[in-house]
Each structure stands twice: as structure tokens, then as C-alpha cells.
């Protein structure tokens, strides 16, 4: 079976178009879609109340440690009574790193200890709630 030159060109072109489209769709799924979903979550929970923000970030921490902490218990944050901006910032940074998709709720305690051992002067300790 032989193909005419225009047909060969069209086959190659179609293959490249499909490859490029797949590449872009994968990129959008991995990037723009995630950002849209994340943004919509903020729209739905609001962000004017710090307690809401903290609760949301704790959810992310739960995802972070889902592979280490058995499911079944509550999250508790041990931190200064005034949950200051610094803790806030650091927790969010820690929580957004390498987030792990969580299959079911995990339970653990998150404690922030100011002992200078962490990369930014604080350390996040995760313990299982008894």
C-alpha cells in the first residue's frame, strides 16, 4: 500500500497535532486546572477570617502527612495562643510542599516549636493523638 505525498504529510501533521494537543492538555490538567480548583476553594471558604484560613491549611498539612499518620483521629495545632503571622506563613509553606493526595482523613497533632532547628528557625512536629 502506498500513500500519496499529500496524504503522508497530512498523517505526519495529524500525529504532531495530536502529540502537541496531548502535551498541552496534560500541562493544563497539571497546572491551570489545579490553580482554578485551588482558587475556587478559597472563594467557597472565604479568607477574611483567620480561623478559616488556619483550618484550610491544616487540611493541607493532613494531606502532607497522610502517608505517615494513621487515619482516625483529630488534628490539633500546638502553637502560641496568638496564631501569629509568622507561624501562619511557615505552616502554609510547609503544607504546600509535595502535597500528597489523601484517600481518607488522617489524624495527628501538629506542634510548632520555636527551637531554631528548622530551615526558617522553627520546627514542625507531628505526633499521633493518643
Amino acid at each position: 500500500m502506498t500513500f500519496s505525498r499529500p496524504l503522508r504529510v497530512r498523517l505526519v501533521a495529524a500525529a504532531l497535532i495530536v502529540l502537541c494537543a496531548g502535551m498541552f492538555l496534560y500541562g493544563v490538567r497539571r497546572g491551570a486546572y489545579q490553580a482554578t480548583r485551588d482558587g475556587l476553594q478559597y472563594v467557597s471558604i472565604g479568607n477574611s477570617d483567620n480561623r478559616v484560613v488556619i483550618r484550610y491549611r491544616v487540611d493541607q498539612i493532613r494531606e502532607e502527612f497522610a502517608d505517615r499518620i494513621p487515619a482516625g483521629s483529630r488534628i490539633r495545632i500546638v502553637a502560641p495562643s496568638e496564631f501569629g503571622t509568622f507561624w501562619h506563613i511557615w505552616l502554609s509553606e510547609f503544607a504546600t510542599m509535595n502535597s500528597v493526595r489523601v484517600a481518607e482523613p488522617a489524624e495527628f497533632t501538629v506542634a510548632v516549636i520555636e527551637d531554631g532547628s528548622g530551615p526558617h528557625g522553627v520546627r514542625l512536629v507531628v505526633e499521633r493523638v493518643p
Binding site: V12, G27, A32, G39
Partner: protein, 490 residues
């Protein structure tokens, strides 16, 4: 929310006249305005540090001066209006971005944003003595005091009218980033303008959305990686694949060089590649070195006031020697770095490379026919920047087990965007080949022997040869790349 709106309005008002004068377009000028305002703010910050005073004292006269320059440029009509920037094109550049851009509503609590850019913006709200002390203060060494001032100065500009507010800071930084992404979409549109119009527009939208592929959740959180990447790649595309005026790409590369140190490296690499392409007439490449000069000037100012790069601190010279002598430690770090790069999007770059090779082997005449410049300069930039990235991780003073996981998804963004830009150009070429597979000269009615037919903007002079006259024209020389701007098919 009032503070956010006031800050955004301030940035747009300061940047709009110059942006409009550069583009000759109201819509595109408005979208470019945050970047021109950022440049005005960055120059103000440098003058504040070097000469003295407060940021606002420099910002106001410089903004007024930019208004005068814009008026003169516009009055004398020193350049044609930017092609391919009508309302329909602008809709393709912007509407798809609205969905992921909603992430700007996230709480402004990201680490780098506060620790680096907004802390420095806070310093810029003080006087010059405070800023000078801040740059050299060892307490703030962790916050990269050597980073260029464009973003912090822009945020401080917004704060000057709207008051200090972290949501305003996040919105202003995101406005700069989105402005750069729109310019990237515009650059893709210009580069592929000789192909089918709809394919060119879709490609522009796709590349713009592709900027989110790496580290998507920090793009609108006050980080600057996507900002300098989009600006640098947009400038590079306009220079390497386009043939229009150089003012806009030089401006974009200057934005990149004054946003982050990696942006300066990228601007330098683009300048080297452009100079290599025009080696027979090196003076033609001179403007491309302006962004590099601006970035180097900031580096000198930073060093004078004792700002220090973390990469060169704590035995940086020794680590460079270890790299050059291929020390066993460096081999281990090299393997770790390459593995991380592969996991953080290297596969997408590999797919784009396959597309580029297949396209170059089988569809090159069609690419030449629609006037898209050669692909190799983009890949030269990609390879050189990838090498610089690996080198950076090799000489990093940090443990790679910490440094790579906390940064590789962001540092890979330039490679991903360059690869997607290359793939987009080949996709438009493939559409052209699919629709018109014959390479024989078409009937006279198809040639560009009449006036240019713009898609929705004013006619642009067709300064290249007729589209089908030289189907196998050389791609490697800039002077021989045919330009078919304004001669698109509907």
C-alpha cells in the same frame, strides 16, 4: 478590597502611557501597563538607593518623565501599532487565563512572598538609609537581599497610595505576572501569524495557560518565577522568531533581568543567542544587551551595599572549583539534580523535543512557508538555561534533599515554557501542512501581491518576500526569514 483596587489602579495609571506609546493599542497597552510601571518603579528604587531620598520622591518625577516620553513617541508615531492585537486576539490572550488567575484570592501567606519580596517592599516604604542598611543586614541574608528590585518596588508603589496590605501585594505581583503571560501569548501570536489565524490564536492561548504547568499554586501567591519566565520567553520569542521592532522585547527582557537573578541569566542567554544569529552585523544585536546591562547594574549596586547571593556565600568559590574538577561529590549532586528535573517536567520537555525533531525533519518547508523562524535558537536558549540551572544546584550551599524539593518545580518553569512555545510553533506548522499539504506554488489569487489583509487591526507593511516564492528558504539566518505579518488567511 479598596486597598487592592487603589494599588492596582496606581500601577496601571503609572505604566499605561508608556505601554500605549510602545504598542499603539489601547487594550494591549493596558495589559502591558503593569510591566512598564514595574520598570519605572525599579529605576526609582535604584535611584533611591544610590542617590538617597524616598521611593515616592523618585517615582513621581520618573512617572511624569515617562508620560512625556510616551507623549512624544505617540505624537511622532515612531512605530507602527502592534500587529495581531485586536479585540479578538486580546480575548484569546486573556479570557482563558481568568479561571486559573482566580487563585489570586488565596490567603497572602506564602513564605517566599513575605520573606523576600514583601519584606523588601516594606523596606522601600522607608527612607534610603533604611534600605541601604537592610540590603547589607546579615539578619536578612536569608531573604535574598541581592534579588533585583522590580517586584518589591512595584508592591511598594501600590502601597504608597493604597496603604500596606498583603492582599494588595499579592494582587499587584499577580498583575505583573499576568501581564507578562499575556505578552507571552502575544509573542506566540506574532511568531505564528503567518499560519492559519485560528490555529495561531489557539496556540497563543495554550502557551499562556501552559505557564501554570510548573508550580501552579504559587503563580498568583506573590512568587516571581512565572513572571520573569513569561517576560523572558516572550522577549526571546519576539527577538528569535519575529522580525518587528525591538523596543517591546527589550523591555520584556529588562523586566526579566530586574525581577530575579535567574531572569538576568536568561536575558544574558537570549542576548548571546541573538548575537550569535547576527554575528555578521553585531551592532544589530546591541539593544538586546540593554537588559543585561540593567541587571548587571543592579548587581553592582547590591554588592556596593553588601547584598550577598546565598549561592556564592559559605565557600561558593570552592564549590565552583569542585564542579570544574568533576569532584565525586558533584557527580552525586549532578545525578540528584537531573533526576529531580526529570520528575518535575523533564518528560514534557522530552515530548517537545520529539515534536521539534519530527517537525524539523518532515515539516520544515511548511514552517518556512508561513514565516516562522528557525526553532534551534529556542532550543539553544533552553539547553543553555538548563545547564545554568544544573550548575546552580551543583554550587548550592544547601543540602539538595532540601533545596531540590523546595524549588525544582519553580526553577523548571522556564524550560517547560520554552518547550511549549516550540511545540506551539510546530503545532501551527502542522495545521498549515494538514490544511495545505501541497508545496507547489498556488494560484496568483493566493499570493501576497495585493495589500495586506489584517485580521482585525490596521495593515502592517509586508517587509518580507511573497509567501510562496521561496518555499525552501534558509531558516538559520535572521535576514532571510520571510515575514508574512498581516497576510494571514481568514
Amino acid at each position: 478590597m479598596t486597598a487592592v483596587l487603589v494599588a492596582l489602579a496606581t500601577v496601571v495609571v503609572i505604566g499605561w502611557p508608556l505601554a500605549f506609546a510602545l504598542t499603539g493599542r489601547v487594550l494591549l497597552g493596558t495589559l502591558l501597563a503593569p510591566l512598564t510601571a514595574g520598570l519605572v518603579a525599579a529605576v526609582s528604587a535604584v535611584l533611591m538607593i544610590v542617590v538617597g531620598g524616598r521611593l515616592v520622591f523618585w517615582l513621581v518625577p520618573l512617572a511624569l518623565a515617562s508620560f512625556v516620553v510616551a507623549f512624544v513617541v505617540h505624537r511622532r508615531q515612531l512605530g507602527p501599532s502592534a500587529p495581531h492585537a485586536g479585540p479578538v486576539d486580546v480575548a484569546f490572550f486573556t479570557v482563558p487565563l481568568l479561571a486559573p488567575a482566580i487563585d489570586v484570592l488565596q490567603s497572602p501567606i506564602s513564605w517566599d512572598s513575605h520573606a523576600i519580596y514583601w519584606t523588601r517592599a516594606g523596606a522601600f516604604t522607608q527612607d534610603s538609609a533604611f534600605v541601604r542598611y537592610h540590603l547589607g543586614d546579615v539578619v536578612y541574608r536569608y531573604s535574598h537581599t541581592d534579588y533585583p528590585p522590580l517586584v518589591p518596588a512595584s508592591v511598594a508603589t501600590g502601597w504608597a497610595t493604597g496603604g500596606v496590605d498583603f492582599f494588595s501585594a499579592q494582587f499587584v505581583t499577580t498583575a505583573l505576572t499576568l501581564s507578562a503571560i499575556v505578552m507571552l501569548a502575544y509573542a506566540v501570536r506574532v511568531a505564528t501569524a503567518g499560519g492559519p489565524v485560528w490555529a495561531s490564536r489557539v496556540a497563543a492561548s495554550a502557551v499562556a495557560l501552559g505557564v501554570w504547568t510548573g508550580a501552579p499554586l504559587v503563580l498568583a501567591a506573590g512568587y516571581t518565577d512565572h513572571l520573569w519566565t513569561a517576560a523572558a520567553v516572550a522577549g526571546g520569542l519576539l527577538l528569535l522568531l519575529g522580525s518587528g521592532p525591538r523596543a517591546l522585547p527589550v523591555l520584556l527582557l529588562t523586566v526579566a533581568a530586574l525581577t530575579k537573578n535567574e531572569g538576568l541569566i536568561a536575558a544574558g542567554i537570549v542576548a548571546v543567542v541573538v548575537t550569535a544569529r547576527t554575528w555578521r552585523a553585531p551592532l544589530r544585536a546591541a539593544p538586546v544587551w540593554v537588559p543585561v546591562g540593567a541587571g548587571v547594574l543592579w548587581s553592582v549596586v547590591g554588592r556596593v551595599f553588601h547584598a550577598e547571593s546565598d549561592l556564592l556565600a559559605n565557600g561558593g568559590g570552592e564549590r565552583i572549583v569542585q564542579v570544574l574538577t568533576v569532584h565525586p561529590t558533584m557527580r552525586f549532586r549532578f545525578d540528584q539534580t537531573v533526576d529531580a528535573m526529570w520528575s518535575a517536567g523533564g518528560k514534557l520537555v522530552a515530548v517537545a523535543a520529539v515534536v521539534a525533531v519530527v517537525g524539523a525533519l518532515l515539516l520544515r518547508p511548511y514552517r518556512t512557508r508561513i514565516g516562522i523562524g528557525a526553532d534551534w535558537p529556542l532550543w539553544a536558549v533552553l539547553v543553555l538555561f538548563g545547564g545554568a540551572l544544573v550548575f546552580t544546584y551543583l554550587i548550592s550551599p544547601h543540602r539538595l534533599t532540601w533545596h531540590l524539593p523546595t524549588s525544582i518545580d519553580r526553577t523548571m518553569v522556564p524550560l517547560l515554557v520554552l518547550a511549549s512555545a516550540s511545540a506551539a510553533c510546530w503545532a501551527v506548522t502542522a495545521v498549515e501542512a494538514f490544511l495545505r499539504p501541497s508545496l507547489s506554488p498556488p494560484p496568483a489569487t493566493v499570493t501576497d501581491d495585493g495589500p495586506a489583509v489584517p485580521d482585525d487591526g490596521p495593515a502592517v507593511p509586508d517587509d518580507g518576500p511573497a509567501r510562496f516564492e521561496v518555499p525552501r528558504q534558509r531558516e538559520s539566518s535572521e535576514s532571510t526569514v520571510p515575514t508574512t505579518r498581516g497576510a494571514e488567511r481568514p
